[in-house]
Symmetry: C2
């Protein structure tokens, strides 16, 4: 394939923005604060069919954005974050489905978040941004879906924090859920997951350049943010993944006997930390991790997933053997709750060695499961 | 028991110091640098018997010190770090054994380390301290054991980084090893363990108060050190331990919707971070974690534990089911290597939910194993 053909095969997408909740119609958040106006950055792929029944909402994970697949420009170096899964002829087939993906509320890739300008002050919100929850993120997405004129989503798909949003949609707007695919996720953040998030937050807040969240006219807490990201990356891999990927291999020929880093695993973490600082806002990390920590569909012993409206709704729940951030037992809790509804639940634990990262990596087994599941739902609902 | 009796039952110990390797007889380190004079802080409990055959060397873990058991003063609030295991009538019975424990080279509790004064400059070494390895630490301990006039140690006991020292003793001075008990340890630091250590180091080095290791006339990198310690504590527990100990319990009655910390697991980490800053030197953390990362008895496919001098030597190797920092498969590697020697190896994986911390916590099963093992060795060697 020559370069011209390669470019011709690219799917071009456009980032769009939807603004709502302008005063005095602000959105009331879980914390009680009224927030507005709110903008969501979003992208769509494929075409909405005549009866608006083929929409698939993709919910991104913690550090993702609306750019799920395709390229924003012809000379884009990299396609969207889930380009292996989403596109023409791919498991989430944009020749058939109308795919929507929006940057979450509290994010930093076009949607309203702590780095956005607070209209009341003319300056970035910083810590003046109210705490948002997964429920608030989903509430904002509901505004967007309504705006697009879609009454029922054929499916909702998301992994990790995206999976939490999938489940929150099911709990809060079950009548709009045609089917759902929560991947590598949980009904409630565990103490260990909270602990890792809190250490990441402390790393940022310990950086004097964080300046209590007010750093947008300076360089920002680059060191703290890099450390926070490194912590994240250790939890996204696994003992076996790291052994396989790096082992004890050095990145030079001999030990340094200093603190510049000897092992390839160290270089990998340094690289991930640096890369992240260039694309992500430290305050957004604080807000989104906190939203994940607050996430709990099982408070007071009753699951918010138990809802008769979900009876018969098809679910595909997937976990990965080496994912120790959201281990399989947490996916089984999702399955148990849904079965009480008489939902039509398929569950698969995929043998994969890449830890939590597995849900984002190319995987034929996952491709086949998602492709087959959506195909069945499409034939039942859309034909 | 009244207060007077309680005090009477206390074992009083004294911190002693041994200095050696004074120029021009410096110790040559693995990195090639000559270091001297070197001081080791150490404590002893019990009495050395007439034929000097009842000595048990205890090797402390990363953040431990020479104060293994008993009290340094009558009004000490806390006894040594392994007081549940070491003392009169306890598994490591000081009525019978002569116990030695020294602070490691590179540490900050009386032994020569980066916070010690460099005699060449009259100022603390800081990063001028040479990199030390587990082999160097053991080499220094050998000087102390020679100084105490002990030719063969009845046993060596240690967990975690202490276990690495036990194994290094076996590799380097097998003729001095009467028996050995490596607990919750490994023959080589895994990529995941290196990753956690590197993130902890980066947290310290990201703190501007670290000042390239030169902070001894200032406040020091308290924030970075606290974050580093929090990372450590997440790895010392486990998913199940954290679920049991904290779950999602709040430390106030409602969510804060701010970043002050909501969950008990967060308060626990904050507390551990703060406590550590008051007692530990940040540079020592850098040096000791690096020594652990460099630790590898299996380089080039050959195990340094394979040594015919260890034939018939009794070993008790112990791992803990929920320890994911040094998982059981790593202890099995120790066992495999030792069996090639014809060493007399007992291995036990103890069912325990407290993660890596389990080796330090009171545990009747561990007590029984160590007590029985030492009793047998004592009867074979000392009576």
């Amino acid at each position: 394939m020559n370069s011209a053909e390669g470019q011709a095969a690219q799917v071009l997408v456009e980032r769009k923005y939807y603004t709502f909740a302008a005063p005095p119609e602000e959105m009331v958040l879980d914390c009680g604060v009224r927030l507005g106006p709110i903008t969501l950055a979003y992208e769509t792929l494929g075409r909405l069919n005549a009866d608006r029944s083929n929409a698939v909402l993709i919910l991104h994970a913690f550090s993702g954005d609306s750019h799920v697949a395709g390229c924003l420009r012809e000379d884009d170096e990299r396609p969207g974050w889930w380009d292996n899964m989403v596109g023409p002829g791919k498991p989430v087939d944009t020749d058939r489905y109308f795919v929507i993906c929006s940057n979450i509320l509290g994010g930093c890739s076009g949607s309203t978040g702590p780095s956005s300008v607070n209209p009341a002050t003319g300056k970035p919100y910083g810590l003046g941004f109210p705490m948002v929850t997964i429920k608030d993120m989903v509430r904002a997405q509901k505004h967007l879906v309504d705006h697009l004129g879609i009454g029922t989503l054929m499916s909702l798909v998301g992994g990790s924090v995206g999976g939490m949003q999938v489940l929150r949609w099911c709990a809060d707007y079950p009548e709009m859920v045609g089917s759902a695919i929560p991947l590598a996720t949980t009904t409630r953040h565990s103490a260990q997951a909270i602990a890792f998030n809190e250490v990441a937050r402390q790393a940022i807040m310990a950086d004097p350049e964080w300046n209590n969240g007010d750093y947008y006219d300076g360089s920002g807490p680059a060191h703290g943010l890099a450390v926070a990201r490194m912590i994240g990356h250790v939890t996204y891999l696994s003992d076996s993944a790291m052994r396989e990927k790096f082992g004890r291999r050095l990145h030079r020929s001999t030990l340094s006997f200093d603190f510049t880093g000897d092992f390839q695993v160290e270089s990998y973490l340094h690289h991930q930390g640096k890369k992240f600082v260039n694309r992500f806002d430290a305050n957004s990390l604080l807000y989104i991790t906190k939203a994940a920590d607050y996430f709990d569909l099982e408070r007071d012993g009753a699951s918010l997933l138990v809802n008769e409206t979900l009876a018969g709704v098809p679910f595909l729940v997937v976990s990965f053997t080496s994912d120790w951030l959201y281990p399989t037992y947490q996916s089984r809790n999702i399955v148990s709750a849904l079965k009480k509804n008489g939902s039509d639940v398929s569950f698969c634990e995929i043998e994969a060695q890449w830890g939590h990262d597995a849900f984002l990596l190319p995987n034929k087994r996952l491709d086949g499961l998602i492709s087959g599941f959506l195909d069945r739902v499409y034939h039942e609902r859309c034909l």
